[in-house]
């Protein structure tokens, strides 16, 4: 039998660079002219510049570049799908393998903390305009930071008790420790942005604000209408992950856990269940692994934890008296296929949907309840970006879109003449 990794729920899975190993990796960088990696970052984090700073022993300068361009630089360093972004663009791929850009970014941001740097500053003299941001996820945090840097007074309203959105209530801490998220958010607070927690925003709350940003994300469950879906032990991915992140080791995921889905969220749910003590965890995906949207290295990590992956099967019915006892699957394409698995818990990681946004703000909604907001503009004083606009992409894209929307808000406020 091969060796199975035993890990703690809150312990980070991948070790970072030390000063020496960071230098070794930075030495591999070709220090490209007009670097493709920098072009590959949606949020403009400018990896070529911060890697060059590391190489020339200016790690504080590296931290500055990251923080100035990407307010969530620490979190992005952990969770960005770099293999599809900066690292895919890296020139070094033509020689052997890309520079580990994410890991270097993590190293530089760790140094920001070691040196107790305070990189971002908001002007002391504030503008008169008042700005509200709804939701404290990546999109809002990025927009708020840009606005605060430009001298606006910003308040973020968040219905949960902590900021971070999916960073705090979704992604597993073994990939993204809470301390990293908190350190990123501390930079936003350091700019004077106010946070109001436990506040579910309704359209009426927003009247006194000169401009409003909506970054509410996708928090509606997407459960199939199958027999037994109302039973105890059935979760949507976001509810399951949120329960785990808030209750930590006190959360009992059940002994036998099934996770339905083929994306990174499914892997996060399975890993969470396993790290919190589930004995048998299986991911069941209806298509093939080849078609799965999840990152292969994440599937591999799940395998090393002893999590099983079954493909080609879709859930058909959930059986149980008043809680989940077994799940029946049918072949998705293979009509002959049948599968029944005992289970205490079944988690549906089959995508999130939008909640009713018209209750939050007078915005236009399109298909699937998403907000229509080209270049961040949702009409009048309303702006929106992130998952609630793009239908669910990545943290770095939410940051990029949040920055873009902030620019549009500044232009709007300046045009309106609000000082």
């Amino acid at each position: 039998m091969s060796k199975v990794v035993k890990a703690k729920y809150t312990a980070e899975a991948v070790a970072g660079f030390t000063h020496r190993t960071a230098m070794e990796e930075a030495a591999r960088c070709l220090l490209c002219h007009d670097a493709p990696c920098s072009q590959g970052c949606p949020a403009g984090t400018d990896p070529a510049k911060f890697i060059r700073s590391i190489r020339f022993r200016n790690v504080k300068g590296a931290a500055e570049t990251i923080r100035e361009n990407n307010i969530l630089g620490g979190s992005c360093a952990r969770v960005c799908p770099y293999d599809r972004l900066c690292e895919e663009a890296c020139s070094r791929c033509g020689i052997d393998k890309p520079i580990q850009i994410g890991k270097l970014q993590r190293y530089a941001i760790e140094q920001e903390k070691v040196f107790k740097m305070k990189i971002l500053k908001a002007p002391a003299k504030k503008k008169a305009a008042k700005v509200a941001c709804v939701g404290a996820g990546p999109a809002s945090l990025a927009a708020a930071a840009e606005l605060a840097k430009a001298g606006y007074r910003v308040t973020i309203f968040e219905r949960e008790e902590k900021a971070g959105g999916v960073l705090t209530y979704g992604i597993v801490p073994s990939r993204l420790p809470q301390a990293v998220v908190d350190h990123d958010i501390a930079q936003v607070k350091g700019l004077g942005v106010k946070f109001e927690f436990g506040k579910e925003v309704k359209a009426a709350d927003l009247e006194e604000y000169d401009a409003v940003f909506v970054g509410t994300g996708l928090w509606g469950a997407n459960l199939p209408k199958i027999e037994g879906i109302e039973l105890a032990g059935v979760y949507s991915a976001v509810d399951f992950l949120k329960a785990a992140r808030t209750q930590k080791n006190a959360f009992d995921p059940g002994k036998k856990v099934l996770v339905v889905g083929g994306g990174d969220v499914a892997v996060d749910c399975a890993v969470t269940a396993k790290l919190l003590g589930a004995e048998d965890v299986k991911i069941v995906y209806r298509r093939t692994l080849e078609e799965a949207p999840g990152n292969m290295t994440e599937f591999q990590y799940a395998l090393t934890l002893g999590i099983g992956i079954t493909t080609g099967m879709a859930p058909a019915a959930i059986k149980g008296a008043d809680k989940v006892e077994a799940v029946e699957f049918k072949g998705f394409r293979d009509e002959a296929a049948q599968l029944v698995l005992s289970a205490d818990t079944i988690v549906f990681a089959t995508g999130q949907t939008a909640e009713d946004q018209t209750a939050v703000a007078p915005v236009k909604v399109a298909d699937k309840g998403l907000i229509k907001a080209p270049k961040g503009k949702a009409g009048g004083k309303f702006f929106a970006a992130g998952d609630i606009v793009n239908g669910g992409k990545t943290v770095v894209e939410a940051v990029a879109a949040g920055k873009e929307a902030a620019d549009a808000m500044i232009a709007y406020l300046e045009k309106k003449g609000v000082k």
């Binding site: 020496r20 190993t21 960071a22 230098m23 070794e24 990796e25 930075a26 030495a27 070709l30 220090l31 490209c32 002219h33 007009d34 493709p36 190489r55 020139s91 070094r92 791929c93 033509g94 020689i95």
Partner: protein, 429 residues
């Protein structure tokens, strides 16, 4: 079967199994160490310098330089000569000579007066060593009567060489310091005084790094530090230069002959400085050294590095069809000529392999910022395009990170110059 080649050399009349020696330093400081190094394959050892003066060392005493995460580019030490009693050192040397007759145990000595040099030479004689080396070159002695201060004073070098050779017939090697303007004149002085040959280089006076915690140099000894000797890979270019200049000095070869120390090879240099691999060693042999000596690489990696030196040099000889090292030693000397004698009639233009190119743009940046703006950057294709400004300096070739991507291409004759057959390097790795 591992390759076997005859790597033996005659060095000052002494038969050596191969040209690889430990240089005088802590790597050869007692009986057991030297025994182990012989068993690993080293032909001989220049034993840690023995004096009447016994060193009282500071702590710590080492530092190293690094670049881009690569450690030990260079190494700084603040050590002096042996810190063991003189008699004990000679006892080790005596036993090594007795127990390892196939290996070459050389005593390296340093006195602070004519008397001391004579006294040490007599002790060498009694120990029965085949060769004696005189250390005229340690740059961090605590007295001006010893070390590199002596080595740059022709009168003292000659006087002390004479002192040694007046009491023993064992061939005497003067170890030279690179902390000089011109090594040849000091080498001549040594040979005039009776030395059979010189070895070089000892360490270069240096400050490797500053420590901002204590605002002094490295290493920090109770908040202070000193200028002291630099060695290792970083000094190899300087060592090769000195060895080449000494071996190209006709006067030195003549003096050796006059003094009766010509064993058929002219002046017999022993090359030292930054040798880590068979290739480094072969470079010293190519400029006319008959043996080579190593310290820093052993401090970093241990005696075992000699295994790849022996095997690597054997493969090289095999590849080039050399049966023995005498066919190779000194081969490069005629081709290292004064700058004014180089052919300056042509430009060797670089050639770019678009398929190998990874589009990093480093050639473009360097050519623009530091050469002749001869590369246009094709932004769309991310490829360099050579224009008419190229002077053939090959800066681009040196910065390109991809092996075999930029290579020498077309030869362009300067106006009015006579084309001739041009030899140039084709393989860059």
């Amino acid at each position: 079967m591992a390759i076997k080649k005859d790597l033996s050399v005659n060095y000052l009349g002494v038969k050596c199994q191969n040209p690889f020696f430990l240089s005088s330093s802590p790597v050869g400081g007692n009986y057991d160490m030297v025994r182990k190094c012989y068993e690993t394959g080293w032909a001989g050892c220049f034993f840690k310098t023995v004096g009447i003066f016994v060193a009282d060392e500071c702590s710590p005493r080492f530092d190293q330089t690094n670049k881009e995460g690569l450690p030990w580019l260079g190494f700084k030490n603040m050590e002096q000569i042996s810190d063991k009693p003189t008699e004990q050192n000679f006892e080790y040397i005596y036993r090594l000579v007795r127990d390892y007759p196939e290996h070459v145990t050389v005593a390296t000595i340093m006195g602070s007066s004519e008397e001391e040099w004579k006294q040490l030479a007599k002790m060498c004689d009694e120990a029965g060593v085949p060769l004696i080396e005189g250390n005229f070159s340690c740059p961090q002695m605590t007295s001006h009567d010893m070390g590199s201060d002596v080595g740059t004073n022709n009168e003292l070098v000659e006087k002390y060489a004479r002192a040694v050779t007046s009491v023993t017939d064992i061939p005497f090697i003067a170890k030279m310091t690179p902390n000089c303007k011109n090594m040849e004149e000091h080498a001549r002085a040594a040979i005039k005084g009776g030395a059979a040959a010189v070895s070089a280089i000892n360490t270069i006076k240096s400050i490797t790094n500053l420590d901002f915690e204590n605002m002094t140099a490295m290493p920090v000894v109770n908040g202070k530090s000193s200028i002291s000797g630099y060695s290792g890979a970083a000094v190899k270019p300087i060592a090769l230069r000195f060895c080449t200049q000494v071996q190209q000095d006709e006067e030195i070869h003549k003096l050796v002959k006059e003094k009766g120390f010509d064993f058929g090879y002219g002046h017999e240099m022993s090359g030292i400085g930054g040798i880590e691999t068979w290739r480094d060693a072969a470079e010293f042999l190519a400029v006319g050294c008959r043996t080579v000596q190593v310290t820093t690489a052993i401090m970093q990696y241990g005696y075992r590095i000699v295994e790849d030196m022996i095997s690597g040099l054997s493969h090289f000889m095999d590849e080039r069809g050399f049966d023995n090292l005498d066919q190779f030693i000194g081969c490069a000397l005629p081709n290292i000529i004064p700058a004014e004698e180089l052919n300056r009639d042509f430009r060797l233009l670089p050639k770019f392999d678009d398929k190998k190119c990874v589009g990093c743009g480093r050639c473009y940046v360097s050519c623009y910022d530091a050469a002749h703006q001869a590369i246009d950057w094709n932004e769309k294709k991310r490829r360099p395009e050579l224009n008419d400004n190229c002077v053939g300096c090959h800066l681009c070739l040196n910065v390109c990170p991809v092996q075999g991507c930029i290579t020498p291409g077309e030869i362009q004759w300067k106006e009015g110059r006579e084309p001739v057959d041009v030899k140039f390097k084709k393989e860059y790795i």
